[in-house]
Symmetry: C2
């Protein structure tokens, strides 16, 4: 498998700009002459047309020709022939609901697992690459018909990971929320990916991308920071 799972899309430099070198390296795994299929379903307050245009413009410097599945008569068939699948951020619940309803959940999973397509996700698109969406930060605005997701990696990702906590706020910190998850799911590790970071998986090798590293939670173990670079295992 060839995966690039980013924490976030936006930065002061522009949409996906911070990640372009990583996306370039990821895309070169396959011939980039065909359509790069984009899944816009996580977009709720932007139109899917606008979302497609945003991503197409962001990735144009790499020579990727972005085409959104919402424009296609048969998205499943398109996935079955795709070399590059891009799944954008937004609301994870809305995304998973649509992936399930359209049959793309199964189609993307099979295609990417076979190695014939590469997978790029950011934010919600990284969440659905995990076994479940149980570590999303998003609001459950739509029932996704079950929390099981693509399961492309054997860990849960928490995107936009932060230790910050607004003064006076009495809600849970991110670490408290993730400890609730690891309490109920002691066998499943979680990678908290701060802004500007990502997880790169190529074949059996994985690495953390981005200077901020990643925060790993697992069962009752003390959380630990993983530095940018190769991981011994996921």
């Amino acid at each position: 498998m060839n995966l690039l799972l980013l924490s976030n899309s936006t930065s002061d430099a522009g949409y996906l700009t911070h990640a372009l070198p990583w996306v370039r390296e990821w895309a070169a795994h396959h011939d980039t002459s065909g359509d790069a299929l984009f899944v816009p379903y996580a977009g709720v307050t932007r139109t899917w047309d606008a979302y497609e245009a945003l991503v197409a413009e962001a990735l144009a410097p790499l020579g990727l020709r972005v085409r959104s599945v919402h424009q296609l008569a048969d998205p499943v068939a398109a996935v079955q022939g795709a070399r590059h699948v891009l799944v954008g951020g937004g609301n994870t619940f809305a995304l998973l609901r649509s992936l399930r309803a359209t049959g793309l959940l199964e189609a993307i999973g099979a295609r990417v697992r076979s190695g014939e397509a590469s997978y790029l996700g950011w934010s919600a698109g990284s969440n659905v690459a995990c076994p479940t969406i149980c570590t999303t930060n998003d609001m459950p605005i739509a029932d996704p018909g079950g929390f099981d997701a693509l399961g492309l990696v054997p860990v849960q990702i928490n995107a936009h990971y932060t230790d910050a906590h607004p003064p006076g706020h009495r809600g849970e910190t991110r670490e408290q929320r993730l400890r609730e998850f690891t309490t109920l799911n002691p066998g499943m590790p979680v990678l908290g990916l701060p802004e500007g970071t990502g997880l790169r998986v190529r074949g059996g090798r994985s690495q953390v991308l981005g200077a901020a590293g990643a925060r790993r939670f697992h069962g009752n173990l003390a959380p630990q920071w993983l530095a940018e670079g190769p991981l011994e295992s996921l």
Copy 2:
């Protein structure tokens, strides 16, 4: 119906301390000599025994005798005879899953709707009083088997409502998240309850409690602040 739905439990003054005057007024609606049944299922990283003790101590000054349903052989029967039902905060998904699995979701809904029991919830306990849990801030660490909840009020509550946004954070603001909800659910209003506030419902009358007021979202309308005091309608 007699409901008190709080945003939060903790404050510098102590557990539930800021809300004691409101709880006192709420409790006086019924004879307080029996057990006040406590539902601890939202607690994930604290034990239910410890949670019961915490709440019992907090409410002792009001003369409420707190008993947690996890101690009882037949929680449904206990609810069917209860005058006061307390549902504590923690993780909304874990709470709803257990409410559904134990039959308490139906039992509490019926008992409170009949007017024979009063309902006090805070944080997750306020979320489950709404039609669905679709406006919780919590992480979906457990599949609740559907998002439908008690439906005691015709609005969605967003507890711990805040405008704050940590600097550098690229995830959604709370307002963005709630606008995603109102985009998909234009007919359902949302009340954002800041820390230290609550919603009081008695019969057909409702009021916002707490100086910070409440933030109302509805469809495409501009969000508005509601001041502390009576509401014309929910």
